[in-house]
Symmetry: C2
Subunit: 354 residues, 2 copies
């Protein structure tokens, strides 16, 4: 199916030196995709320009006069830089000229501008950041990963619904299993917010499997893991940090002296396959869920391979009508649960005054 | 220095088959240590009884008639089982007959009973669970790891003070560096509680280095990492889960077929050294901080080596007067910050009503 993706070519630690070659590779790999490349005029010159030209009408170049830096305040990005490459890419989605946009830039700015331009879907209070993680079995999608640091039970429920729809769209799994991240599997565990969220999820019509603990994230016990953005962000980054440390330990041990280097030689292909399997670049491409459009965030440090993975994901989400799935599901939920919010609000109120 | 440790010999997945051999090894390794072994009478029979007897007056056996199971509700453990091995071990600390106690049993029960029997130190609202983690440089201590799921800024401050005192006592590091776990390094990041906690820590006289992100936990950027128990528990368990998954990936790749097994042979000693370096058993022994006595929690699945590490830690904490250090520091803090709590309370109140 034909799909058009808008790329913020300036974002990320490496900017166009990664985004443009990744775009070319993606055009070769997926003949039904079209791209709108957004960036400062000077990046579309030289060899890469001729390569892009070879794709003919499948590539459109759209100039932008500004760039949002990685440490720019989201408010400035949103209010001042109205012709930034990021903003122009998002505007293309808003106008329907692209079905998805992608940026490796500043996450806070991407969230703020996307929310401002695209708005949230009906029934969704706050967008969330979701990403897939490798597990012993398959992969799992965790959200929120840092967009919301103070979530109510209702927010967590919305995350569950959005996450389930994403897994349907990207992984084609029917009735994805949803778990709630907690500090114990028993229902009595956790804080009040998590306990109430469990109640809501149980009554949501989703395939809710209950609480899961941190050590189950990588076991593949469910397709979607719901959590507060603070918790999710720390868990994801702690995992990244541990992975980096273990990789450097392994490297150090193999490179300790000439003997260990020699012994390592025959094992190199095995180590390589291990690294490929645990390679976090394969999982690059977080989705900003809950907006009226597909917005994908690549890791800032992504290389060409990693950025390509995020591109594939954005095309997949657009082709499988992610936004419509979420919208439809939210409408269904609201219809069947019409009286619930008031009941819950009363209950919450009662709990607070108790 | 002479020190007496009370051991709940019944706790953990393996009970006396781990705790008793570990006790014997510890007695051999540390000639200045005395142990009080608490358990059902029938475990002190056979070969292990003769081995224990060979240590003479250094070992005292104390019978208990009950055992707290791993899934027992803490309230039952506390109110009903007054002659459990766990409770008797804690009572020994209370009466001054032991300077520390250790259990591999039910964490919730250990916390509840310890708190009930020993009480918290002056100025400490809630005890916290702290454990050391390996880092690229050294090791770091993170707290709380699950005792408190709703922390106020004041609780986080107390965790910082207790953690710093623990690092002084166990690692002999002067003015340990304290970091606050957050979702960004900038001061504006995080929720209100974390922002206020940062303020308190900055004015506490501790060597506070500011916010740290999840990926810095394993970099060794500071000696103590302060966080809410929910966040800490999830981060710790997510790390455990990731470590387990990566280890099984590595094993699977090496055992894929006879060729990979053959290639792996020369690399085995290297892999072994890598495993030793990343071995979580070395870090076994969480401390329940903030109580009027040293209480150490071993991992339930600990083997003899791991339980021995926790025993060493409990002796070290008792010898280096952990409790007095925390007590002294809390008194100093309260003296120098006498007006602060009211100011803060007013500020907190103002924020809440705003």
């Amino acid at each position: 199916m034909d799909v058009t993706i808008a790329i913020d070519c300036m974002g990320g630690d490496h900017g166009p030196s990664v985004t443009l070659p990744a775009a070319c590779e993606f055009l070769r790999a997926d003949p039904d995709v079209k791209l709108v490349l957004v960036g400062l005029p000077e990046i579309f010159t030289g060899a890469i320009a001729s390569e892009l030209a070879s794709f003919g009408a499948r590539v459109r170049i759209q100039h932008a006069s500004e760039v949002i830096s990685m440490d720019e305040a989201p408010a400035i990005a949103m209010r001042v830089k109205k012709d930034s490459s990021m903003r122009v890419a998002i505007d293309l989605v808003k106008r329907g000229e692209a079905q998805a946009c992608i940026s490796a830039g500043n996450t806070g700015a991407l969230m703020a501008v996307s929310r401002f331009v695209l708005k949230t879907l009906p029934g969704i209070d706050r967008p969330a950041i979701v990403q897939s993680l490798p597990t012993a079995k398959n992969s799992t999608y965790m959200l929120d990963l840092g967009a919301n640091v103070d979530c109510t039970p209702e927010h967590l429920l919305q995350f569950g619904i959005m996450g389930a729809m994403l897994v349907e769209a990207l992984e084609h799994r029917e009735r994805p299993e949803v778990g709630l991240l907690n500090i114990g599997e028993e229902e009595i565990k956790g804080n009040e917010i998590v306990k109430q969220a469990a109640e809501l999820l149980r009554g949501s019509g989703l395939n809710f499997i209950g609480n899961i603990e941190g050590n189950s994230i990588y076991k593949g016990v469910c397709d979607v893991i719901v959590c507060d953005g603070f918790v999710g962000n720390v868990a994801l980054k702690a995992s990244e940090g541990l992975g980096t440390m273990l990789a450097s330990f392994l490297k150090e041990e193999f490179q300790r002296n000439w003997l260990t280097r020699l012994c390592a030689l025959p094992a190199l292909p095995i180590i390589k396959r291990f690294r490929r399997r645990a390679d976090h670049r394969r999982y690059n491409g977080a989705v900003l869920l809950g907006l009226r459009g597909v917005v994908v965030k690549s890791h800032g440090s992504a290389d060409i391979f990693a950025f390509g993975q995020a591109l594939r994901r954005s095309a997949e989400a657009a082709r499988n009508r992610l936004i419509e799935r979420i919208e439809r599901r939210m409408i269904e939920y609201t219809k069947t649960h019409a009286p619930e919010p008031q009941v819950l609000q009363a209950a919450t109120q009662a709990l607070r005054t108790a």
